[in-house]
Symmetry: C2
């Protein structure tokens, strides 16, 4: 006991082995793990009594918990954390699984949205928890092409293609009837004013046009104004669309059979804010980060873990892929899978924006 107090840091190898075994058993069964079950199933080379002693120590240090006196132990978030730390040294995904994932990626048509959906779906099917992917997004955008198309007698559709991929479309009410030629002309004007501009650049153009004499055409002005707003919004958000697949997998977990908790999680995923907040913590390529239970800032996420990795090139288009599952989750496999998929996404982004 004295020993333990002296070194709160690293655990003895045997203790760690036992912790590991408990976690793996608990992940597999979702049942509190007893000392007896552990020795029979894991060949630890010690007796149940010894295991019990170690368990008591681990519990005193906060790595384990037990729901009541005569129940087995289960890992705390701190326990999972230690476990995850011990395995983050890259373990490659099994070749078979690599192949399966690559195969799935091969199927996709290159419609960008499908792409992220596919990444999420692949992660979900491979890990049996929920997969998450955000669209790749450069830190700032430029206008690549811009177009104004009639969309009815009093409506025009403004289509903005941003550099590096995304296409934005908004409808504009048209003050007066315009024929197609007029729109075509406006479209040309828009193009020459805005092509290649950043949000700030477009803002400047807007300023010039507003002050111009003779006064600029009203519709043109509104189109520019709308484009500026659209680009500002784009730049301001950390993540573009969030795609999640396989949330049903998570609902299947016994800890969520009562729908109470899961619905709060659904809610959090709806708004893209949460993943955006996490982005700054996902910096270096290829590094998978794990957020376990109460480590998540958002209270609704206290019962789940996130395994996330960034993809893309620092300073260029970036996004996030990962999985969401119960804290009782097969971390090693999840981490390997997420790392592999993020690598794959890297390749694709490189290919695209090299």
């Amino acid at each position: 006991m004295a020993r333990r107090k002296d070194r709160p840091g690293p655990l003895e190898p045997r203790s760690e082995a036992i912790l590991r075994a408990i976690i793996e058993e608990y992940v597999a069964t979702a049942q509190p793990v007893g000392s007896q079950a552990l020795v029979t199933r894991y060949r630890l080379g010690v007796s149940p009594a010894t295991v019990r002693n170690v368990m008591a120590e681990l519990e005193a240090e906060g790595y384990l918990d037990h729901p009541h006196t005569s129940a087995g132990r289960l890992p705390t978030d701190k326990g999972y954390r230690l476990y995850v730390e011990s395995i983050t040294e890259a373990v490659a995904l099994a070749p078979v699984e690599q192949l399966m994932i690559r195969h799935q990626f091969g199927q996709v048509e290159f419609a960008s949205e499908q792409w992220f959906r596919l990444a999420a779906a692949t992660l979900a099917s491979s890990t049996h928890v929920a997969g998450i992917a955000t669209a790749a997004k450069p830190p700032s955008c430029r206008v690549r092409r811009i177009d104004l198309v009639s969309a009815g007698p009093r409506m025009a559709s403004l289509v903005v293609v941003l550099a590096e991929g995304p296409v934005k479309q908004v409808l504009l009410a048209v003050d007066q009837q315009r024929d197609d030629e007029t729109l075509e002309l406006l479209s040309r004007a828009l193009s020459s004013h805005l092509t290649g501009r950043s949000a700030a650049g477009a803002q400047r153009v807007l300023g010039e046009l507003e002050g111009a004499s003779p006064p600029t055409d009203g519709l043109l002005l509104r189109a520019v104004e709308r484009t500026v707003r659209l680009m500002r919004d784009y730049d301001a958000s950390d993540v573009e669309d969030v795609f999640s697949e396989g949330l049903l997998n998570v609902m299947d977990a016994p800890e969520f059979s009562r729908s109470e908790t899961i619905r709060r999680i659904f809610g959090v995923l709806q708004d893209r804010v949460y993943l955006g907040d996490l982005m700054p913590q996902l910096t270096r390529d290829g590094v998978v980060r794990v957020f376990i239970g109460s480590e998540n800032a958002h209270i609704a996420m206290h019962d789940v873990s996130l395994v996330l990795a960034p993809y893309g090139r620092a300073g260029r288009a970036v996004g996030v892929v990962g999985v969401l599952g119960p804290t009782r989750m097969a971390y090693p496999h999840a981490i390997s899978t997420v790392r592999y998929v993020s690598g794959l996404m890297n390749e694709l982004v490189d290919h695209l924006y090299a």
Copy 2:
């Protein structure tokens, strides 16, 4: 009893009143309804004993059920059906609610996608069940504008604006390095070949280009080919994107506290096929159709009801709005709300495609 056998059709007014009361009580409480509770709470002017007699009749005719001998009654799908028939004569939504919904619609930027999302969200918040909306989709599409934009050294982004709104984007792998001017030229060529074409027309163009000599540029050919496929896919699908909001509301219902059933429903909503199948049954404008429990073709939907209405003009862009909830659902309010929102969507579509 003889009477009942003679006229299986319309129910006596009193029986119908009692059925109505039972349904309303059950909708409110989610508990089987007893004869005693009914007379005290609904002032039916008869004694519990009489109510019991009527209940027995209603049960014999299949409008009611009871889970066990000494439990109260609950409505069957057939019971709900009769109830719904009796209220489908348009009841306008309360002015306050109309105002609230209109207000919510006023908020939206006219980005088309947001629009349908908003419709679904509005329905969800107003009815406290899940809201559903599909994007408006014309029966067949034409190319309104088409553009080929560089998206990296070996990638080009093909952007197709279809008449009446939707914008499609796909990525094409580029066989050899092309500079922006070349792409610009190709873009022009695409435009002149395809603008105004229907899927069939584009197909013909593709045929001509394939046979041409000197042979058409490979990238151009692939772009045309991809456009044809995209348009065919578009024409072939009955519905475009399906937006659903507020599924959490449904999860809250006590009948779904065990997540078993709800997850199958989630699954069905994922693929757009189901709503597409229903489209043919939603013909006349302003008519709200109700699909109750087992009336739904899909087995996963046997525990829920759909209240749906089409919007848009027959032969022009059309879509569906509606709500999804437990069969135990506040139908009158849901029907009024769906009717009102579909009317609103009609206005908007008219405004757009007049």
